[in-house]
Symmetry: C2
């Protein structure tokens, strides 16, 4: 598996994964009908940077890295979001992208990583981030309207770099 | 005291308060050199709405109300930020704006209000929000570089509407 940064021009290769992930309505707050142009802008316009995980030329997942606050007195904290192709689950893609993003964040000078919006019912993700050193530092009641479960708590997770 | 919504054209009347508040580097993550144009865009461009508290034609404070996530499966939760003129502290301006914002948020259909970034050293604000029904639901270590205290925890606060 290779992980590398892409520019906006390559985003359409990763879009089908993005589309399939948000269509589930179970992990991201993005509207399920978000357009590819909006997704591309949010994940590739600076200061956001977009990365893909590939094997044999096939995109298995993508992630976005950015400052959690773009400029100012909170811009020492990074933020990231990850998406894995439904067909590539269980192969360690999210784990590899997480480690890659932590290293990229360190190299960019960030001193911590914060996830603002981890859907609490996504227990596999919560456990994965915990294995990668993240602690649950907040829990917002009912902040996510889960497509299946309805109002669902959202976790804030954090680790130092 | 009167509280009313303003449009972008009136924002310059409130800008001196915004400028003085962020210059302190003790409550907001905005860069202390943020331009008036950037501030105006962030606080008045839809879906953000800006309100001012006035007495005898003088602006005492301003606040911003918006969805915490602009569109999608988290847009039932509101977010707000408040600023009071240093000259008008201790007169209940923040308290009045808080109540006003909660009512505006209810009328706009939000079911909860979330503050993402309450600087923990701002103890008067934390107590004030608690008196207005907010609970501390998260604490992010060192997420704010306080001008005086250095790395300072940031609180996430929440209440149902």
């Amino acid at each position: 598996m290779q992980i590398r940064q892409i520019d906006a021009g390559e985003f359409p290769r990763a879009w089908p994964i993005f589309r399939d992930v948000i269509a589930g309505g179970d992990t991201y707050s993005y509207p399920p009908d978000l357009s590819p142009e909006q997704a591309q802008a949010m994940w590739t316009d600076p200061p956001s940077r977009c990365f893909v995980a590939e094997r044999d030329g096939e995109v298995l997942g993508l992630y976005m890295l950015r400052p959690n606050h773009p400029r100012g007195l909170g811009d020492h904290v990074a933020n990231a979001g990850y998406m894995v192709s439904p067909a590539a689950r269980g192969q360690g893609v999210a784990s590899a992208m997480c480690e890659h993003s932590l290293q990229q964040a360190r190299e960019a000078g960030f001193v911590a990583m914060q996830y603002n919006y981890v859907v609490s019912s996504n227990e596999a993700a919560v456990r994965l981030w915990q294995r990668h050193g993240f602690a649950i530092v907040g829990r917002v009641p009912g902040a996510f309207r889960h497509a299946v479960h309805g109002p669902t708590d959202v976790l804030v997770m954090h680790r130092a770099l």
